[in-house]
Amino acid sequence: MSTLEILFYALSAFAVISAVMVLISKNPIHSVLWLILVFFAISGHYILLNAQFLAIVNIIVYAGAIMVLFLFVIMLMNVQSDNEPQKKLFTKFIGVLSGGSLLTLLIALVKQTVQLEGKEVMMKEGTIGLIHPLGKALFSDYVVPFEISSVLFLSAMVGAVIIGKK
């Protein structure tokens, strides 16, 4: 087994375990911290795929900005973990059952897809994930969506302020 495969399996196991811990921890703050670990594992996957720009953006935007926002809101609300309402056991069972059957169905579907057989993912090499080609594509072919996204941010900011002020 090569180093890349070992890293892939280790990061995958780490991400899945942390994602399960997000669900089963009672304290919302612990859930946020586990979710940050999931995001770091996904950034590790990006680095394995040589998508360096997305790895850095994932850490800065998700693990940095968004999760700090979540932590901030949770601490602002001061939610007690012991009186968090729980769903009924039957509802939980049905939820796990439906999620598990979705997973089983999709995996069975992917396993018998002929078009995906023999396709390899290029790891560790390839230049499309670096900043130089991505920046070139972003500011030539995708410059209009890029500018429109600034309008989206402005409207999101105005919306958040108006909703929060009421």
């Binding site: 996904i42 990006y46 809101v73 509802t91 439906s98 290029m122 790891m123 994930g129 929060g164 009421k166």
Partner: protein, 111 residues
Amino acid sequence: MPIQYYIFFCLTLFSIGVIGVLTRRNAIIVFMCVELMLNAVNLLLVAFSKMHHAAGLKIAAASTAGIDAQIFVFFIMVVAAAEVSVGLAIIVMMFRNTHSIDINFLNRLKN
């Protein structure tokens, strides 16, 4: 690494997110599970982009096939950041009105 392994891993993360949305009642946890599902899809997009890049390099040496998917992921992150700011503002407003973040309170929107 075959593409199937990446698909299985991303499907697992996505299903964990679905289970979280279905089983938890805390609105913030539900929101975090939606973020988890979004990230699983992002990782799968990058994996597919590298798959197409490998196929494109066999045709032309200077090919940039697959770069669109990475731009897509970038824009998904942009939209997710905007979505989180508005969503958390809505949750804060809901908490101010009902003093709870139980999503079962939200069914009063029906009336």
